[in-house]
């Protein structure tokens, strides 16, 4: 009987919600827009980044006539040498140019005498768009410098290798093809948590505060149904939508990254296995369970539908903000972080995406704490529904 009632309530809330085109549309949009948005955004960033690296570097030079060899070297190395502005410092500060190379009149003499020849690279460090250009210019100058060192040593009968006591070799050990582009997988937990909190958002509000505002709650509670069953029925329906949203967002995000056209556009080539999708969803399941419970509790407390919407929106924001921060901030996972719901899952899903073996202790800790929080919220909601003020709260 209890199971039948549970099913009846969950079924009714599902049908009721599905017939509300606008709310279903909104939920779908929120859930699917996020992965799309991230892919488009990240794709553009990645393209811009790689294009900038390939394009010839425009470098205004003041005093080019003092160092013809250097200028020739620059031109050979993909640098487009331009005439410098009259007042280089002002021009850089005002942003007219990103970068100016100033070669002083003393250059030729210093060079011939074997003294360090002074060149100045002017840039405005507060102008971030100049970072890349400055780094490229400095690197080319460094190359020239090393070339001169080698020539001078050879002229004196020495092996240029003596100036390189250390041989530093950078080795990228990130698994297979997940180099810099693998960063996009940091966004996977963000996509999932957003969906977990927003997928059931409307239903959580509509079945609780909404039902009360439309004056059908009192009638519902006249039926011989345990209040626990009433809350669980609404919970079940909301959970189904939230979980569906999460599955949809996750698969949409990961499958899109597999599409060749998308890979061409974004320049991100990743091989994403189905087992990653499944692992991530399993890790996220407790978060969905918790998110829905907290949303139902908060919406039941609210005085009106409108209030409930505002409060639950806030809850959703608090829920997925940590994921957003963690995805962009570099940091080392500490053990205590696994004790915080949503943060623990973000760390674990990131690890799974990097193909690392998941630390079982942390998985259990995160899952247990998240589930406990969800259960506590659900218990509080049942308690609230057992009080007579649930029908009076307006």
């Amino acid at each position: 009987m209890i199971l039948r009632q549970l099913w009846t309530i969950a079924h009714k809330e599902t049908i009721d919600n599905l017939r509300d085109r606008r709310s279903v549309g909104n939920a779908l949009l929120t859930v699917l827009m996020v992965p799309l948005l991230y892919i488009v955004l990240f794709g553009f960033m990645n393209r811009a980044f790689s294009e900038q690296a390939r394009r010839p570097l425009d470098l205004p030079v003041v005093g080019a006539e003092h160092a013809p060899n250097l200028i020739a070297f620059l031109a050979q190395n993909n640098v487009n040498v331009l005439p410098g502005p009259d007042d280089p410092e002002t021009a850089v500060r005002s942003g007219d140019v990103n970068l100016v190379l100033v070669i002083s009149a003393d250059y030729g003499d210093a060079f011939t005498e074997g003294r360090p020849a002074p060149v100045r690279l002017l840039r405005d460090a507060s102008n971030q768009s100049s970072d890349m250009a400055a780094a490229r210019a400095a690197s080319v100058l460094q190359q020239y410098s090393q070339q001169i060192v080698a020539l001078r040593l050879v002229a004196r009968g020495l092996n240029p290798a003596i100036t390189t006591p250390l041989m530093v070799e950078r080795v990228d050990v990130s698994p297979d093809d997940r180099g810099g582009a693998g960063f996009i997988l940091n966004l996977l937990p963000v996509v999932m948590i957003t969906a977990a909190f927003f997928g059931g958002f409307y239903l959580a509000v509509d079945t609780t505060a909404g039902e009360r505002e439309r004056d059908s709650l009192e009638s519902l509670l006249l039926n011989p149904v345990r209040r626990t069953v009433v809350v669980l029925g609404k919970y079940l329906a909301t959970f189904v939508f939230a979980m569906l949203g999460t599955v949809l967002a996750t698969t949409c995000f990961l499958l899109l990254l597999r599409v060749p056209q998308v890979q061409d556009f974004t320049g991100i080539r990743l091989s994403i296995g189905n087992e990653l999708i499944i692992t991530a969803l399993l890790l996220m399941l407790p978060v969905v369970l918790m998110a829905v419970a907290v949303e139902i509790l908060i919406a039941s407390y609210a005085r009106s539908f409108k209030d409930a919407q505002n409060y639950v929106q806030l809850v959703a924001l608090i829920g997925f903000m940590p994921a957003v921060f963690l995805s962009v901030l570099p940091f080392n996972p500490q053990n205590w972080m696994y004790a915080i719901p949503t943060i623990g899952q973000v760390l674990l899903i990131n690890q799974a995406a990097r193909g690392e073996l998941l630390p079982m202790n942390s998985v259990l800790l995160t899952t247990a704490i998240t589930l406990a929080l969800g259960l506590a919220a659900l218990g509080a909601a049942v308690r609230l529904y057992s009080q007579e003020r649930i029908i009076q709260a307006k």
């Binding site: 009721d16 009192e218 009638s219 006249l222 149904v225 345990r226 029908i391």
Partner: protein, 243 residues
């Protein structure tokens, strides 16, 4: 059979129901008459198990509403004063939802719904979504869902408010029919004529207290008034809030 003894309920400083005791027997229509705000709805909510009394008890067919809430509610059909419907469900789906919650299903449930829709003359709106229903249509759906499980005890809070003449007649016929089937009917109203016309037993309630209780004849005798309306007025002391 609904029995209420020493029922008391306050909301803050407002004493909504004060030491109310009465019995509504099977096969009779018992009317709660009182001005707006007299405590009729609070009284009915206490009987329905929606509110918890400060003291006293309500018993339905021997089941204490507080202690055996589910058993008591199973024997009760209630039309509350606010009858919100699920706008995106059809009239039939609204009624079916409640029927299922009460353990009905299959052909039995559909039969009950068909019978009620016929009695209430609402076959034309049966498969329509409740969005945009008139007050009369909404009340009909609400009454149908209160009666879908054929309850022995029926509590109706202002069943004819907002209904047009035809719907009011249909509603009265239905109430009499339920009585003739041997059910216990408790209805509340602030309309004197309606109570005088329908009820076998009348309880006059004012400021949360019972001021008069008896059959229409008994009321005339007690108050010494020939006219029932005069009897009510002399009992309550004013006509304010009555029509």
């Amino acid at each position: 059979m609904i029995e209420v003894s020493h029922l008391t309920k306050s909301f803050g400083a407002v004493k909504a129901v004060q030491d109310v005791s009465f019995a509504a027997p099977d096969g009779l229509i018992t009317g709660l008459l009182g001005p707006n705000g007299a405590g009729k709805s609070s009284c009915m909510r206490l009987i329905a198990g929606i509110l918890k009394p400060d003291s006293g008890q309500a018993v339905i067919d021997g089941y204490d509403v507080q202690k055996q809430t589910l058993a008591a509610q199973a024997r009760l059909g209630v039309l509350p004063d606010k009858h919100g419907l699920y706008q995106r469900l059809t009239a039939r789906e609204n009624v079916r939802y409640y029927g299922r919650l009460r353990g009905l299903g299959g052909a039995e449930l559909e039969n009950n719904i068909d019978n009620l829709f016929q009695l209430l003359d609402m076959d034309d709106i049966a498969e329509r979504r409740c969005e945009g229903f008139s007050t009369g249509q909404r009340v009909k759906v609400a009454i149908a869902r209160a009666l879908v499980h054929q309850p022995q005890n029926v509590v109706l809070d202002e069943p004819t408010v907002g209904l047009d003449v035809m719907s009011t007649r249909t509603m009265r016929q239905l109430i009499r029919r339920l009585r003739d089937e041997g059910r216990c009917i408790l209805l509340s109203s602030h309309i004197m004529q309606e109570v005088a016309m329908l009820c076998d037993n009348i309880i006059v309630i004012a400021q949360g207290k019972i001021v008069l209780h008896g059959s229409p004849d008994e009321l005339r005798q007690t108050t010494g008034q020939e006219n029932l309306e005069d009897a009510f007025v002399s009992a309550i002391g004013t006509t304010e809030g009555l029509t």
